[in-house]
Subunit: 314 residues, 5 copies
């Protein structure tokens, strides 16, 4: 096991050997195995956005097996999906790629007003029987329903870790507490990373932050302390610092389908700022397989550069 | 056991042998046994719409035994009903027709505003003691109460499968999240099928989709990707693809009583699009018995044609 | 045991021998024993309406023993009451009259707005330790709280039957889903009987229906199919048909205190329509004992006529 | 469903619809389906006698799939085996042959002195998840450990039936309470059948009885009452009468490998005495597959003769 | 994943994806990863024989970390030990070597007469929190205490598999039911392998068999059927056949410290007979580390030869 992976595991000294083992499985698998960087393939859009919006651009992706195969061939660090998608092929691909079961989901048919609510669609026991290395859970800081989401996450985290699983948290500010622009504001994203870390997340997923600042109280500090946020790398650095002084694994979402070069540039910024990697769904599976492999190969190549170096907290 | 049934069972590789056995029982019973197609008789209208609206057009249907006898004589693949209707004759007809216990129901006396709520009226243990092969459960994506319905379904699914039962999900978009026209819109019906599959359904029941598109975000994709939706067969094809790339059994409701030829035409469309069959209640039991047998015989004849051929996902 | 009682028991073929035994105890006890008809004495008005409204017209009725004695001497088929009233004398009258423990109640002090809610005031274990033959439970279809009432009834029914008790359901439409006039509308009462049957009731109590029709969708069917509802006997016939084709025991409430001849006339209508009997509280215990015995004797005499003939479903 | 199967099911009127359904599945499956007779393939010898003694005579039988295939092709009514043997292929053969999970076993390495003890090697939940129709359990009346065996059987029977499974009991007198010769004595075998029936067995397996009488008290009655036991048919008749007046399904073990004609003769005796069939392990799987199919075909042909006729209790 | 590993996983079609994943982890780890062969390092002698007898020959082995390091460096397929030994370093070596928690143990201070008894010293939850891939359990067929051992194993197996762990069974005949010589007799060892398979073991560990035959009933079959047992390869072949026709992974213990060449010769015999590998404790850790690495390297080299070929059942 590489020195960098051992270093990362050392940040989680309260976790039991089972959770450490499953974290290590993610950090040692695939093309970035051992570098301390990771790229995860997430496919929950079928549930979240509906099938046509998710899979019509690349119809073989309707088949759950497609994504296991893509994650395996591309050599991503892990594959994350809701219950049905994992159940459909977990036995067939048993032991071939680390799996993350997303335990809650939100669909876009059901109305929940401006404050998002999620439904729990899987359990820790499901994760264990499917051979997963981790559970995934989404919280929406800024939603009026924050209490039930945080409390459910805590309970699931406790149960998952007691059974040796790792915990990956999608921390996406949304709801009546934040403006649309505020959802990716640097202060808000950094805060979201901090909240996930405080709730016990092992791996934290946030959105790449803009240089917008949402909260007045925060703006005063950003300005007063001269926190640099003009480049993406600087902003990522602040987010990573905000997750326990760069001692939690923070990865960034790839967002909607966009120009490849723009994404690569973003990945370089994440990397240079000390980010640990990306979680890239739509940009991966909404194009042809060969194209996707080339694309993911390039992303992982970017992350492989300079790997093994830790960010020194500001 | 036919090659087609074995192929269908192979899609459910995460299920235990008990659930596979009960799926096989449905797929090998009755006139369509072995074809990979199925026609199910559901009689929950007494609960959902009231007795006169359900049974007055054909008074012998007030008697619970009538429906067991109809399902048996017609040779439908299974018979689905709420607790009371099954309890009333399950022992008398023990072992003669695969039974599906509908675990939740909704009546039309009780007010639930625009967002439907259901009551759980039976349990997994009831299904086992009545000798059922599956539980049935209705979800209403688009209802503000989606969270509790999805979570209850997940819990019942886990319990049912642990005891070797199969799970049939009625996925009917309804509530403040969808318009009346949207309930059968092609994007919404496909989404409903996807949601049921992600929640672990073995057999999925949806309504035949129209060519209406409800969600703007979906319309862009349907148009941009050129998803064909002008014929029913094309629309059914899209729905079936949306259920894990045609690797989940999707059947379609027969709807309100209508002209027979119109229904037969609809069945041909479902069949040609790769649908697995129909679930036909009112059109079956709201006419005289002889007429019903002729009608169901014709429906099954339509589905028997070209059976054994799988849809290849677009 | 009479052929008619055996026939009635044959309708409940999913019940265990314990539940069948307790049903038989009701059907073979008292003056109507063996006829297939039954008259039950219910005294829950102390809880539901308050003591003065209930017992001041006949003060000896304040004493719980009064009602055991009345049921025993009159020869009613059973005596139904809430926990306290049964506990007060069950030991003293042990084995002398079949008892039904009403498990939920509703008082008229507590506010529940237009949608009634009940409180569970006894348990299946209480019914067993008091030597009861059945539990009683009231549902209010049409109440916004239908879900919790139906689900609680299902759970109590499961538990009661597992312990060999029978289940008597008071199905009284009430709440924001029905108008005041609609509560006794023929379509609504028939629907209420169907719902109770679907939920597993062995004996169903409804109100005598009027010829009002509440639901437009139902009116179309009543008119289209020519369902006769002009006489009480015709309406009772439709209600009994609606309870599984006259294969569930349906009895009718006696309502508020009224002129005796009017009640006898109503009983004749119930009897002629195929109803199984009456449940008569206030009209029994709110008059002097001798008067009550004469009155109940006359009611039972009416039901004894033509007993043993089954209704043949329309 | 044949009249004879319906008649047999009518003997089990206390069972729930689930258990009746699973009994019906055995009675309607395979070549003898519908005749009221049955032949079961049991393969527990690997556990009971060891692998070489069991499978070396026909080495393909080492493979668990061999026995599923044999039961399926021969058309036996069911296949019974311990946990490991069923788990190894139940998913592969899901829904193709009724399975009976033997819940307890006894090996011949472990010392238990003259009084046999068994170990529970599977559970009711295992039977459900493997899609079985019944549990199987062996009791050894005559063993000093009778109490724990009977009590465990009762508990497993309760649990199995509550979940809709049927119960098959192997009732083999053995231990310090019976002599070796007494194990198959007519009085002892008849007693064993009675004990299994009293403990709630749905299907009872005993050994073909000899004309030896073990118990002096019994001998007096056999002689005094002139119970005919000189032919096998007469003895089988007495055993079947002893199982609730020929109202429980009693089948007979095939015993060690022997001359085919001798076995056929025995089957004719069982049939003529009113026995319901045979359970034939070693004589089936310890010969080549083609030979086994011919052999089992002949056995089932014998049982098919005169099928549908009930024994009229002496 | 190699075709051979996929083939082996296909034998376990009743297992969930979690158990398959953990089996795959063992079969793909270390120097023999992917070959379908495996060598496991077990260190339970500290508990079983005491510390001096176990570790004094190579004092660094007193330290629990020594064995993790040895397994890791040598590239064994897994490391198996009791609770304390795993707890002492599982966090430090998290994710570096597949771990098997031995759940029961037997010490040589406590008296248990001629019939061995074990104590459960760990739990399935322990295995999960320590990041193990499997539980290990020892049964002693031939012990008078067989019943409690078999039943405890079944319960732990159910729990382990429900949580996605694999199950490794040490099946060591011992006790008053077998002679000392009989413990390794070919019939007894083959029987022990069969018993473990019937109880649901995924991986079975037995001792290399001698050509002694313990049971008279078995000798007749070995001689009658001409089962070859003169070479170790022949005997191993019979043992592997006895584990479900070579469809269960069977490995052999390395026994007490002996001349290396003798052990290599034994490994060649195991390999040539279709055995899946060895589990070698004392011969590994009771010598210096460099010597041990050379020794284990040689053993794995032997098993790597001809790997990927399956035994075809006799």
């Amino acid at each position: 096991m590489s020195a960098r992976v051992k270093e990362i595991l050392s940040w989680y000294s309260s976790e039991n050997a089972g959770t450490l083992t499953n974290l290590a499985r993610i950090l040692t698998h695939g093309r970035l195995g051992g570098t301390g960087r990771l790229v995860i393939l997430p496919v929950d859009q079928g549930f979240e956005h509906g099938p046509a919006r998710s899979f019509a651009p690349n119809p073989p992706a309707y088949d759950p097996r497609y994504h296991f195969e893509l994650a395996l061939t591309a050599g991503t660090s892990a594959y994350a999906a809701p219950l049905g998608f994992l159940e459909a092929a977990a036995a067939e691909y048993a032991g071939q790629v680390p799996l993350i079961l997303k335990l809650n989901n939100h669909d876009s048919l059901s109305p929940d007003g401006e404050d998002p609510v999620t439904a729990q669609t899987g359990s820790v026991t499901d994760a264990l029987r499917l051979g997963c290395v981790a559970i995934g859970y989404t919280i929406y800081p800024g939603s009026a329903h924050f209490q039930s989401m945080y409390e459910k996450l805590r309970e699931l985290t406790r149960e998952a870790k007691a059974h040796g699983l790792a915990v990956v948290v999608w921390s996406y500010p949304r709801g009546s507490g934040v403006t649309k622009e505020g959802e990716t504001a640097i202060d808000v994203v950094a805060y979201a990373a901090q909240l996930a870390a405080q709730l016990g997340a092992n791996i934290i997923k946030v959105k790449p932050p803009t240089d917008h600042i949402q909260q007045d109280a925060a703006r005063k500090v950003f300005e007063g302390e001269g926190i640099a946020i003009s480049t993406l790398a600087e902003r990522v650095g602040h987010v990573v610092d905000s997750a326990f002084g760069a001692r939690r694994v923070v990865i960034f979402s790839g967002g909607a389908k966009g120009a490849d070069e723009k994404i690569f540039e973003e990945c370089r910024g994440i990397r240079d700022g000390g980010g640990f990697g990306s979680i890239i769904g739509r940009n991966s599976f909404q194009r042809g397989r060969d194209d996707a492999l080339t694309f993911l190969g390039k992303v992982m190549e970017i992350y492989a550069e300079g790997a093994g170096e830790a960010r020194s907290a500001a």
